[in-house]
Amino acid sequence: MNGLNLLGLFIVLVFFGLMIGVTILARRREVPKLREIPAFRRLDRAIGLAVEAGSRLHVSLGRGQMLSRQSAIGFVGLSILDRIGRSTSISDRPPIATSGEGTLGILSQDSQRVTAKYLGVESDPLRGRITGLTPFSYAAGTLSFIEEEEIGANLLIGSYGNEVALITDAVERKDGMTLGGTDNLTGQAVLFATAQEPLIGEESYAGGAYLGAGRMHNSSLYVQDILRWLLIGLILLGAILKLFGVL
């Protein structure tokens, strides 16, 4: 058993403990509001406008493999899909999800089925579509879907590389709105340049908390902030110690 593994387990346990602690604390007293992320404020408005205008929302879940680190961003996308499905319950055009991986496609159909059951409406399995199974075929399939449908807003939350630019360009040509976040560094740079509302780093994982997915989403976001400041402190301390020749 090596030290690095134990350190990893320790970090996960600390994260877990803090999440539980913050959740209990939030029940007893008022916790500060979540810091504002303009992209989510704009998304809220876009959801309202889409419902009013009778247009559709498109949630693109990317092509993250379920057996890799990329699965986390895929799960965040699925949470957002679920929340949006419920938020647009009064709309006669429910959201459509596209994905570039089989498991994500099945989970998106399942998520829509559960939301439809909760709302007491009929579910259509083709609202969870797999548009391609390689990066460029996924982009090509998704952009043809964007061309054909009347879409009010596009949420790109998943794992993408530079091919995401083809999707955002198709949205731009239709004067649509794009909110995009990914776990891939190249994809992030591309989304920064091409999406109207890019999400940077951990912001991509905050969607559930901002869309009211539950207390645990909020707690995990607070813990992310706490640990981020702790990491910043440790990095600065390391740099200062290195500067003075201690390390």
Partner: protein, 205 residues
């Protein structure tokens, strides 16, 4: 009523896989590997389901006389043709490899070329949409890196090569590490929410 079976299975398997990753105990490691093998098989089956989903969507377009039905016909024709050829000759046969080398790769390469143009256009659009300091730094950095990525007609701009190396070694690495740390925290949070059953991207919520 909520079905407790799905979350119980997901949480149980998740905890075993997580512990098997961190603690090198033979039993845990073996069970973890077994679960991962099962998951790999399921992912393979999900891929087939994905192909069927793609097929149904495009079949519906063809039968409903959708304006883009000819594209869907081409897609279905290509899919069936490739399946037959690769199924008959095998994936490593020269006929199958020919399809990959002379159809799949050129199409993806042409999309890559299109991407270059889309990105240049996006850069210009970004300056128009968000004309702020961050955008100027972003575009300026991209231009410096691009200028020094290939020969510049034999012109040597003093200091530019050093600037490119410095950008690559200092601010780019620092920024990338910052973003990756944020992503790692996000990944842990998303994973723990699933392990705790608060996020359930499966079955009944």
């Amino acid at each position: 009523m909520r079905n407790p079976l799905y979350p119980a299975v997901a949480i149980g398997v998740g905890i075993v896989v997580l512990l098997g990753y961190f603690l090198q105990i033979d039993l845990l490691v073996n069970v973890r590997i077994m679960f991962l093998e099962w998951a790999t098989i399921l992912v393979g089956i999900a891929l087939l389901v994905g192909v069927v989903n793609l097929l149904i969507v495009h079949w519906n377009k063809i039968t409903s006389e959708h304006p883009n039905r000819y594209n869907s016909m081409a897609l279905l024709g290509g899919l069936i043709f490739t399946l037959l050829v690769v199924g008959y000759f095998g994936p490593t046969d020269e006929v199958s490899v020919w399809i990959f080398n002379y159809i799949q790769i050129p199409i993806e390469a042409s999309l890559m070329a299109l991407l270059a143009i889309v990105l240049i256009y996006a850069g210009v659009r970004l300056l128009r949409r968000k004309p702020n300091l961050l955008t100027i730094i972003f575009i300026g950095t991209a231009v410096v890196i691009l200028l020094m990525s290939g020969p510049l007609f034999g012109i040597d701009i003093p200091g530019l090569a050093e600037l490119r190396i410095w950008i690559g070694k200092v601010p780019a690495v620092a920024g990338a590490r910052g973003i990756l740390l944020g992503i790692s925290l996000g990944v842990i949070a998303a994973g723990l929410r699933i392990l705790m059953g608060s996020d359930r991207p499966y079955g009944e919520n």
